[in-house]
């Protein structure tokens, strides 16, 4: 029933060709030219060579100008940041198009090889194969046995295609799926590029946290540098530093972190530089060293007598009541701290006695310092990387693809034994995508073995 709705290869080809046929001749020529160029290995090699040269000129221009003073023009070129230019984007896009083009161009040929309709060694195939040997023997059965034994020994199966009383056709192959290596490697290179692009939509945000501090909620900056509150809180319950043996050389900084969601602890883990706490697609790592830093506790009293306290380290800021004005801690001394509003460049030294800003928006607000305390603090980083999984799996498959490409070969062998008058003729032929020498050696071994048996019989 459904078959009439399914477009076959032939239908698709016909539809594409008829669509192509109505185009004007110059357009057809242009499309053909673009398609051929995009799938051209010449373009691949040109792109790879151009990229290599540009990278060398970008990275080594200082040294090149130093050793070859006549290359002074490179100094000007060196100021141009190619890696973040449109030129780089064009080169990269061309590379991706070329990768897709080459892969698609090769597909029909691979399908042809895999679907190879004729497994019998006819004359047309025999002449097209790179390795071909013929041997004349008198004993059909002996030749048959030798051939089957040696082919089964190498290919692990005899592969008889057709046999009647007067002839035998044999086809054996191994490494049939080695063609997949090419597609795997190229596809994974594209996926790697896609993964790194996806990764750019994520974020990496470093933040400081003190021992026993609860960040409720955890606020990060996303890819657009906008503040974003995550849907969980983070508690840092312990900070630890490990040394190498009894020496004072630092080995590891670790923090014990807990994720708290809706009042319940959903995950707890000790994190370090390479061991993150995973939660909801976000990885939290130990970033920099733990240290003890001074914190100032500030009290602010609004005109309506509402009080709030803020614990700040150098550089931290807070909003003053409902005014929306943010105040930053800019200096810290044992006897007082300096505060600065972010809207106007007004600074104010604050000690234990309440003081006021002169800004109109802050009229009536009183600020005072409660205490300065030392706290153990560390830097953590939250990473959201949507491309990580794709990069990781593409990498594994790419290595597998390269390995199949370089170390596996599709080896095929055809053989035909035919009775001819008093004896019989054996034709052996083979082909291999790589390491053709092995197939050639197998064919020569079979041939020599048959000739040796023949000569022994004659003696």
């Amino acid at each position: 029933m459904l078959s009439k709705y399914i477009l076959t290869d032939t239908d698709l080809k016909t539809a594409l060709l008829s669509g192509f046929a109505i185009l004007p001749a110059p357009m057809k020529k242009l499309i053909k030219c673009i398609l051929n160029l995009s799938a051209s290995i010449n373009l691949t090699i040109i792109l790879l060579s151009v990229a290599t040269l540009i990278f060398i000129l970008q990275i080594a221009q200082d040294k090149l100008v130093f050793y070859f003073p006549s290359w002074q023009w490179l100094s000007a070129a060196g100021k141009f940041d190619f890696y973040h230019s449109r030129g780089f984007f064009v080169l990269f896009a061309l590379f991706c198009i070329n990768l897709i083009g080459c892969t698609l161009k090769r597909l029909p040929r691979t399908i042809d090889v895999l679907k190879s309709s004729s497994k019998e060694l006819d004359e047309a195939r025999r002449t097209s194969l790179p390795i071909c040997e013929t041997v004349a023997v008198s004993d059909y059965q002996a030749a048959r046995q030798t051939l089957l034994a040696m082919v089964a020994g190498y290919f692990k199966k005899t592969g008889i295609v057709r046999e009647d009383g007067d002839s035998l056709h044999l086809f054996a192959e191994k490494g049939r799926y080695s063609h997949a290596g090419f597609y795997l490697a190229h596809l994974c290179l594209l996926l790697l590029a896609l993964g790194t692009t996806l990764s750019a939509t994520g974020f990496q945000y470093s933040f400081e946290v003190t021992k026993n501090q609860l960040l409720d909620p955890l606020v990060v900056r996303d890819a657009g540098r906008q503040e974003k509150a995550l849907d969980f809180s983070l508690l840092c319950s312990d900070l630890k530093t490990t040394s190498y043996g009894e020496s004072s050389k630092l080995k590891k900084h670790q923090s014990t972190l807990s994720i708290i969601k809706n009042g319940a602890t959903v995950a707890t883990q000790e994190v370090d530089f390479a061991t993150p706490l995973h939660y909801n697609g976000i990885d939290i790592y130990q970033d920099r060293f733990s240290k003890t830093i001074p914190y100032a506790k500030i009290k602010i009293i609004a005109p309506d007598n509402q009080q709030s306290t803020h614990e700040l380290k150098l550089g931290d800021s807070f909003a003053a009541g409902a005014t929306g004005v943010r105040i930053r801690l800019t200096r810290l001394r044992p006897d007082g701290v300096q505060l600065k509003t972010l809207t106007l460049p007004e600074t104010l030294w604050v000690a234990q006695n309440p003081v006021q800003f002169h800004q109109a928006q802050l009229q009536g607000y009183q600020v005072s310092l409660i205490e300065i305390s030392q706290k153990e603090s560390t830097t953590l980083k939250a990473i959201y990387d949507p491309g990580k999984g794709l990069i990781w799996y593409s990498f594994i498959l790419m290595v597998a693809g390269f390995s199949i490409c370089f170390f596996c070969s599709h080896q095929r062998m055809w053989a035909r034994i035919e009775r001819t008058g008093s004896g019989c003729s054996v034709t052996l032929a083979g082909a291999a995508t790589k390491n053709a020498r092995e197939v050639s050696e197998l064919i020569m071994t079979i041939k020599n073995s048959m000739e040796y048996s023949q000569s022994r019989e004659q003696r």
């Binding site: 290995i41 691949t44 090699i45 790879l48 060579s49 990229a51 290599t52 990278f55 060398i56 970008q58 990275i59 080594a60 040294k63 890696y83 790697l192 790194t196 990764s199 750019a200 990496q204 190498y244 043996g245 020496s247 050389k249 630092l250 080995k251 590891k252 900084h253 370090d272 530089f273 390479a274 790592y285 990473i383 990387d385 990580k388 990069i391 990781w392 990498f395 790419m398 290595v399 390269f402 390995s403 370089f406 170390f407």
Partner: protein, 282 residues
């Protein structure tokens, strides 16, 4: 420290092997060749034992890392890989003449590592970024790749030196045929290329963790990418246009030069870089 005694023996063994291979090539005495092979296998065994001893001793000192960090460990590990590749080639293609050119390289690497005042032999504590198994994959693939490219480079130089119509590898005491040298060069590039791909991608993951992005256009990253691109050109040409011979030999030598630059940058000898994975400074 047992490892330093064992590592001190290795260069002597490699020097002896070099002399034996040379005598074998010059005087074509099969027995000398066989002794050279046995001595090379012995040298590699002692080298492997030294490597394992250093690994175990690093645990005894409370540092516990695979000894492929720092210039000393990098150089000795590269020399070990070089000799391992050579032995595999000798067994596979049954030619000993190649040893005359590979063993001296391994010997010089070992001499530089053990005698140079610039290279500390002490087992040192590693910073956090150089700890863990992940960095083991990164650095081991790096030095296996360098060793494979070095063998390929030597095969390519010999290919260019050897003239057509010379004695083929039927005579075990002379250089392998040009065809065999080309094949050795290709196979070593294939191994090196896979290793370099692992090196670059594992480096990308580390870069993301340290610097916040997968690619930084850092000197080490860029030089490694350049070497990878040169080998990619070579492999594409070889697969598609059936490039072989002089062109691939020249490209193989160029590719190795770039990978050496990447090594020297990583070791802190050339250019300023954000990371020195070999010296451990970040």
């Amino acid at each position: 420290m047992v490892n330093t005694y064992l590592y001190a023996i290795v260069p002597l063994l490699y020097l002896l092997c070099t002399v034996l291979y040379l005598l074998h090539v010059l005087f074509k005495v099969e027995r000398v060749g066989r002794i050279a092979t046995i001595m090379t296998a012995l040298g590699l065994t002692v080298h492997g034992a030294a490597f394992i001893a250093r690994w175990l001793e690093s645990y005894q000192l409370g540092m516990g890392h695979l000894p492929i960090r720092g210039p000393y460990e990098c150089l000795t590990f590269s020399a070990m890989m070089l000799v391992a590749f050579y032995l595999a080639i000798e067994i596979k293609i049954r030619t000993r003449a190649f040893g005359v050119f590979i063993l001296p390289v391994a010997f010089l690497l070992m001499v530089f590592a053990t005698l140079s005042s610039r290279v500390s032999k002490q087992i040192v504590a590693m910073p956090e970024v150089l700890q863990g198994n992940y960095i083991n994959y990164h650095l081991s693939s790096c030095f296996i790749g360098y060793a494979a490219f070095a063998v390929s480079c030597v095969a390519s130089i010999l290919f260019l030196i050897k003239r057509d119509g010379g004695d083929a590898h039927t005579a075990k005491t002379t250089l392998p045929s040009r065809e065999t040298l080309d094949e050795i060069s290709y196979r070593m590039i294939a191994i090196g290329f896979v290793m370099y791909s692992i090196l670059i991608v594992t480096g990308m993951f580390r870069s993301k963790l340290i610097w916040g992005s997968y690619w930084q256009w850092d000197q080490v990253q860029t030089w490694s990418l350049i070497a990878w691109l040169v080998y990619a050109v070579l492999l594409h040409g070889r697969f598609t246009w059936k490039w072989s011979g002089t062109l691939t030999a020249i490209l193989s030598i160029i590719g190795f030069l770039f990978s050496i630059i990447s090594f020297l940058v990583g070791a802190g000898f050339l250019f300023a870089s954000g990371h020195y994975p070999i010296t451990g400074k970040f």
